[in-house]
Symmetry: C2
């Protein structure tokens, strides 16, 4: 079992490197959004497309076990979107993303947002060729999640703490959560946000801007 | 890959049947609680132990990728508890539960509550020998989750919609959520609850009582 898993991961890693090279060649920034179900990823994408979509093309790959609900929501914003249904599968893989690129045909300089299947475990293992993983954690889930699901938070460059508008109605210790996140991943940035009120989203957009600049620096690196 | 997965599942199913037989022999009701991370499973267990623990022994198996936070919370209630850490793994398996039984040594007639790893995908595939799976869905996760993760909700006999005390602060359509749940699983019972306020918990306790009675009926069936 372990050997087969290693083989599956090695094959995926090779395909992810192909994705990464293609993205670098086209100067496209791809971000892999990971979280529990219901953390607010789709709402974050809708809002991000509305706020940044005038400056650059934003294309979206939606991963879900079943339904096309999320792709329909994103399509309503006008952004090109592909839904990938994983059936019994619990995560997106690099070859699914490659097939989605062929349908999406994102233009050079675009931002591609990949919404992974809602799952704090398995997507951590599968590189999709993205520039960075972004973990979204809703404050309704409790502050201990970075410690309980360390692999995902270790694999993420940015951690967005969403739904902070609900903090007055919860017993959630923001500082403790940030502490747990720093324990498992001292290098990650942690940004509290509310997609509902817009709080903190300017810092999310600045972070995306910095990733775009770094991508340009790495074009032939 | 598919063949190996089938072999893994077949092996697990056989071990699950052994667990089920052992539980039937001892007249122990085992429930497998499944959900996204942060749906409130541990809080539900704490409250259930407080409310029902005087009538019968309640023992708990806690599954998490990492940490012993949940076992420590349950231990504080006085209930016997074992924590199983799955490491990179995304679900409990029947053999882990068997090993946990040996440590827990639950008495005849006990209620064993198994809190699975927070994951709406993978635990659906792995029978632990439980009498029933109970899915816990927090209303903060959005009403579409039964449709987007149909395998888990199909596999569950009871669906608890938790955190209904937060409904005034959310745009969550309870009827629509119940509709999605019934679409994927017409046989499941759906109970709205709030562990924080106690709303609806009496119906959860009645449901447990009925499962206990059915277990007695099945002792030699």
């Amino acid at each position: 079992m372990v050997r087969l898993e290693t083989a599956v991961l090695a094959k995926n890693d090779a395909l992810a490197e192909r994705n990464r090279a293609w993205l670098a060649g086209r100067q496209i920034l791809a971000l892999n959004l990971v979280s529990s179900p219901g953390s607010g990823k789709t709402s974050l994408l809708e809002r991000t497309i509305r706020d940044l979509g005038a400056d650059r093309q934003i294309a979206v790959i939606e991963g879900d076990q079943q339904t096309t609900f999320d792709a329909e929501r994103i399509r309503a914003t006008g952004a090109p979107t592909v839904q990938v249904n994983t059936g019994a599968g619990c995560h997106l893989e690099a070859d699914m993303v490659w097939e989605a690129f062929k349908v999406l045909r994102p233009e050079s300089g675009a931002l591609v947002l990949i919404e992974n299947v809602g799952n704090l475990v398995c997507p951590a293992l599968f590189d999709l060729g993205e520039a960075a993983k972004v973990a979204v954690l809703s404050v309704t889930e409790g502050e201990d999640k970075p410690a309980k699901y360390p692999h995902m938070f270790q694999a993420s460059s940015l951690i967005l703490l969403n739904k902070i508008d609900l903090l007055p109605h919860l017993s959630f210790d923001l500082d403790r959560c940030v502490g747990y996140a720093r324990d498992v991943n001292p290098d990650a940035e942690v940004l509290p946000i509310s997609v509902t009120t817009g709080d903190g989203l300017d810092r999310w957009y600045e972070w995306i801007g910095r990733q775009m600049e770094e991508l340009a620096d790495r074009a032939f690196a």
